[in-house]
Assembly symmetry: C2
Homo-oligomer: 379 residues x 2
């Protein structure tokens, strides 16, 4: 396979789910894939070698944060993000747009891009499509996302239409900018909750031509059914033979539903962020490890789990560590949660390969609950 090739290994016969392989400059990525988030050049609490041991082959870096700290002068001198953080797997970088647009009171959008103030020191910066591509080129990520405008929910159609036009224009500029060697570029379908805007955006992006396409501006506060519609509408105009990436979604039922509609890639801070807040993910749902009921529970975080945390430590110990704010608590729970997410995706890939994805989907929707009361009661 050449860099950028996306091979569909198997299509589910009853849904639109696909089992694929995307070749990057740092090796192949098996899809559907969940990409852990490494915002500031580290997946929080984890070492790159631990990420490798977990079977992670691609992670996310954040352009906005890395551009502020350490900054691109340092990044360039350090030879790019892979070398800087000691990670030999693939990296996808966002464009920084999402973070910049989130700084509602600190930014000003123009045709050229966004003027904004740093959340760190208030310094003024400018981010346009050329600037985003330059940063991502220096980072040297395997997949660079174009700069797009991520509109809020709700958003008037008038503004959404203008924004989509801008997103398409920026996408063109991004496509034409120079990229790092072997760097793939993904376009981002926007359009909010408006099917015609999403369709038009997708069509225009496909005309420009990208190595893959993301669906952006979903999971920004809208109800789940609206979100799933957004995914369907976003995919409608996209070619079969390119990977599709649903940005910022990590709820398991939503992952499965999106895969059933043809999505190949995901990222979300949930497994890492919630770990630091003391929430464990399991195949049966999530639960708060800090709860008193686990204070002398000698079982692992998840029974039957083969991760480092579960094969060496008890709930009682990890609960203690979390309660007294010990770093090891965040480490162990992050390890478990990432293991849990990556195994979940592995099982989903196997289910597609073995033509039993609909059964897998059915099981997840019926079994997975957001809060697993059974955990506490089972004791």
């Amino acid at each position: 396979m050449n860099i950028g090739d996306f091979k569909i290994l198997k299509k589910d016969s009853r849904t639109k789910a696909r089992r694929g392989r995307l070749m990057t400059a740092h090796g192949p990525v098996e899809t559907p894939v969940f990409m852990p988030v490494g915002t500031q050049a580290t997946v929080k609490a984890m070492s790159p070698h631990e990420m490798e041991s977990l079977g992670c082959r691609i992670l996310l870096g954040n352009t906005y944060h890395l551009n502020l700290r350490p900054g691109m002068d340092i990044m360039e001198k350090c030879g790019g993000l892979h070398k800087f953080m000691g990670w030999n797997g693939a990296i996808l970088t966002d464009s920084g747009g999402y973070q910049v647009f989130s700084l509602t009171d600190l930014r000003k959008i123009t045709k050229e891009g966004v003027e904004f103030q740093s959340h760190v020191d208030g310094a003024r910066h400018f981010l346009g499509p050329r600037e985003a591509m330059r940063i991502e080129r220096i980072l040297g990520s395997d997949i660079a996302m174009v700069l797009d405008e991520c509109i809020p929910y709700p958003c008037e159609k008038n503004y959404a239409a203008k924004s989509v036009a801008r997103t398409i224009e920026w996408a063109k500029i991004c496509r034409d900018e120079p990229h790092a060697e072997g760097q793939l570029v993904f376009g981002i379908v926007q359009g909010g909750i408006y099917p015609d805007l999403r369709e038009r955006c997708g069509q225009e992006l496909v005309k420009i031509g990208f190595n893959g396409y993301a669906i952006g501006g979903v999971s920004v506060g809208e109800p789940e059914d609206v979100m799933i519609q957004g995914v369907e509408q976003g995919i409608a105009a996209l070619p079969e033979d390119k990977p599709r990436y649903l940005m910022g979604v990590g709820v398991w039922t939503q992952l499965v539903e999106s895969v059933a509609r043809g999505v190949d890639m995901f990222d979300c801070v949930m497994p890492t962020r919630l770990a630091r807040n003391g929430t464990a993910f399991t195949r049966a749902g999530r639960y708060p490890v800090k709860a008193a009921v686990y204070k002398d529970d000698l079982r692992p975080i998840e029974e039957g789990c083969t991760c480092y945390a579960c094969t060496h430590f008890t709930r009682a110990y990890i609960r203690h560590l979390l309660n007294v704010n010990e770093i090891l608590g965040a480490r162990l729970l992050t390890t478990h949660n990432l293991h849990c997410f990556l195994r979940f995706m592995e099982e989903m890939r196997e289910a597609i390969e073995q033509d039993r994805f609909p059964e897998f989907r059915e099981r997840i929707s019926s079994e997975y609950k957001t809060i697993d009361k059974a955990h506490a009661q089972k004791k």
Copy 2:
């Protein structure tokens, strides 16, 4: 060797330094030894397996903290501290006295012990010699320290004398209490800056008879020469054939000077605490990794170092992690600092074995500087 045996393998011919081996219920400990501190059932930022990889064979647990959280009910149900934290090496536990006496405004000392309020929730607790021994018995440490009163510096002789009498009385009670299987018990020589009190305290403790003896109440704010005198006075009355432990000291020149006077064991939070503040220890001195001068420095934290951090990551990267408060920064610098301390002790042991300890001592006193300006200039 039987549990509790202390074998002196080699005596330096020109100083009082000794190279020894102390047998604990969890294996032998090679002395002189530096014991990393694992206050709350974890060496901060480290996993027990990483501690093992660093060559650590004994670490410290804190009775005061562990008694408050998770508490001894949980500890007992979890089978003691080794099982609780997944550590198979030796553990030395303090008696909690030092922490309790530090709560100046929250405690009241009587003949029976100390009444104090928890720093966590203000709850009232009582710690006497029997209570300390009971806690350490439940913790199941390999070495239990007796409850002593650690007086401040300066301290009037009148109070110091009363305090020493109390410390001796408590030591007797501690010796007579039941202990965990294979648990060694160490007495603690107090007496402040008064040689006669230190001597009397040592003599009385030896009469009671312990598996080892600590020198307490040093490095509590007194000048370094007074501290070193305290070590000499503390050791004066102690038997040759038992290990001597200097509590809370970690400055390298002080370690060497104390070993030259016959000390075998040390503990200190410095390598771990200062790592979290961004200070790196090296053979040439310590330096602040966060300093701007290291922002694009592609060298490891310490050139030639074989630790995980130094063989995989640059100063530029670790500086970035520390500056943006990423857990991995604390992990990597803690790993390096502990490696550095443990290798330093290893070299000291080798120097004694090879009869070149005085040369080692000379080199350390002349080379080691607290702040290594050379680091920044060398670039």
